[in-house]
């Protein structure tokens, strides 16, 4: 019995080891490709991205194992900075939402937005990912004033985000996540 159990566990362990060795690089490559295409959608002007993270109010290169939220500096072919992409995370309706948003070089305007990870209610909350009129908020959001979430149809200023009917909590969550991320990231970007 012991021989059987030992043999079987060893065999299973070996199988998993092999499968992991084969799949890990492929999975990592796919994740990087997915992140890169999201970055390009948020900041199309950039040709390459430099990755940073924040530590004690300074930009530092991220640790290889780090799970810190990242800042991506968008660079053009000449190595000139053309904007920033900020990774941000916060509570959604039930599960955390992780998203990217793009800033211009001076950090005065938010001009790109993409949800990376969310488990919002299908058909209601998940419209924060696709709803065209909600996404239109993030094509040119003015950051010179504090941003505010307003009811659908009540947007009067370029610093306001128009929410979605039927997805109140999810659109509030997006606004909060962006507000919080801006508070800590804008000073870094403006340095």
């Amino acid at each position: 019995m012991v021989a059987l159990l030992v043999g079987l566990t060893t065999l299973c362990g070996l199988l998993l080891l092999l499968a992991h060795a084969w799949s890990a690089p492929i999975i990592q490559q796919k994740q990087e490709a997915a992140l890169r295409s999201a970055l390009v959608r948020v900041l199309p002007q950039a040709k390459t991205f430099a990755t940073w993270t924040e530590q004690g109010g300074q930009l530092v290169p991220p640790l290889a194992t780090g799970k810190d939220l990242r800042l991506f500096e968008g660079l053009d072919n000449q190595g000139q900075r053309v904007g920033w992409v900020i990774e941000a995370q916060g509570a959604g309706y039930q599960e955390p939402i992780r998203l990217l948003f793009g800033l211009d070089v001076q950090g005065q305007q938010l001009n790109g937005f993409e949800v990376l990870d969310s488990k919002e209610t299908p058909g209601l909350g998940d419209r924060i990912e696709k709803d065209p009129s909600f996404l239109a908020n993030f094509k040119a959001l003015d950051l010179s004033q504090p941003i505010r979430l307003v009811k659908p149809g009540h947007k009067t200023k370029p610093s306001q985000i128009e929410g979605i009917t039927g997805a109140t909590v999810s659109s509030q969550a997006v606004a909060h996540i962006i507000q919080r991320a801006l508070a800590s990231r804008l000073p870094l970007v403006k340095q």
Binding site: L4, T9, I27, P122
Partner: protein
């Protein structure tokens, strides 16, 4: 022990003893990831893969497994293949892996698989075990696909992501939510059992 013919196995697995519609096993994935055809198909295929692979293993070693540790051995084998399936799915498509979320790992505790190992694969030679596992897997896939098709059609107006009901169709979002899952499952069970009673 007498072996059932392949034909018998398929008839039972797909229809007369369908794991979902008759035995009511594996309800958790059937309700949770049947909100679109693509998710249902991926879950059905992943479960069938684990079912067939673990049936083969369990059947091979059936003479050496002492009854006192058989459940632990079955779970070890099933868990190994579930981990393999999870890595495979993630390597093939991150999107599918994200959509299925924790439910891939939860295939480990799917009663269809442990039930098949306990009641069939541990008592029969490899070939009939694999045929039986495959037919049960197909029955599960068929049922979850039916759920996925109905829920996606009514909840989004599309099938496999292609819009089929046109722009003027107002989606019944409730069918994508958990409540809609229970509703569709109950409806399918009702249809199935009504049909079976009238056929008799």
């Amino acid at each position: 022990m007498k072996e059932p013919t392949a034909q018998e196995s398929f008839r039972q697995g797909l229809w007369t003893k369908n794991p979902v519609l008759v035995q009511l096993l594996g309800m958790c994935p059937v309700l949770a990831v049947s909100n679109s055809v693509a998710n249902a198909l991926a879950m059905g295929l992943a479960t069938s893969f684990v079912l067939v692979a673990s049936a083969l293993m369990v059947s091979w070693i059936r003479h050496w497994v002492p009854p006192s540790v058989r459940i632990a051995v079955f779970i070890l084998i099933i868990a190994t293949f579930v981990s393999l399936a999870e890595m495979l799915i993630q390597a093939v498509s991150l999107e599918v892996h994200k959509a299925l979320g924790p439910f891939i790992s939860l295939i480990v505790v799917n009663c269809i698989i442990l039930g098949q190992a306990e009641s069939f694969a541990s008592k029969h030679p490899p070939l009939p075990s694999v045929i039986d596992a495959f037919s049960r897997g197909s029955g599960f896939t068929l049922a979850i696909l039916a759920m996925g098709a109905i829920r996606e059609l009514l909840g989004k107006g599309s099938l496999l992501g292609y819009n089929v009901l046109g722009e003027h169709f107002l989606p019944w979002v409730v069918f994508l939510l958990p409540g809609g899952g229970f509703f569709v499952l109950g409806f399918l069970l009702m249809l199935y059992h009504r049909y079976q009673r009238e056929a008799r």
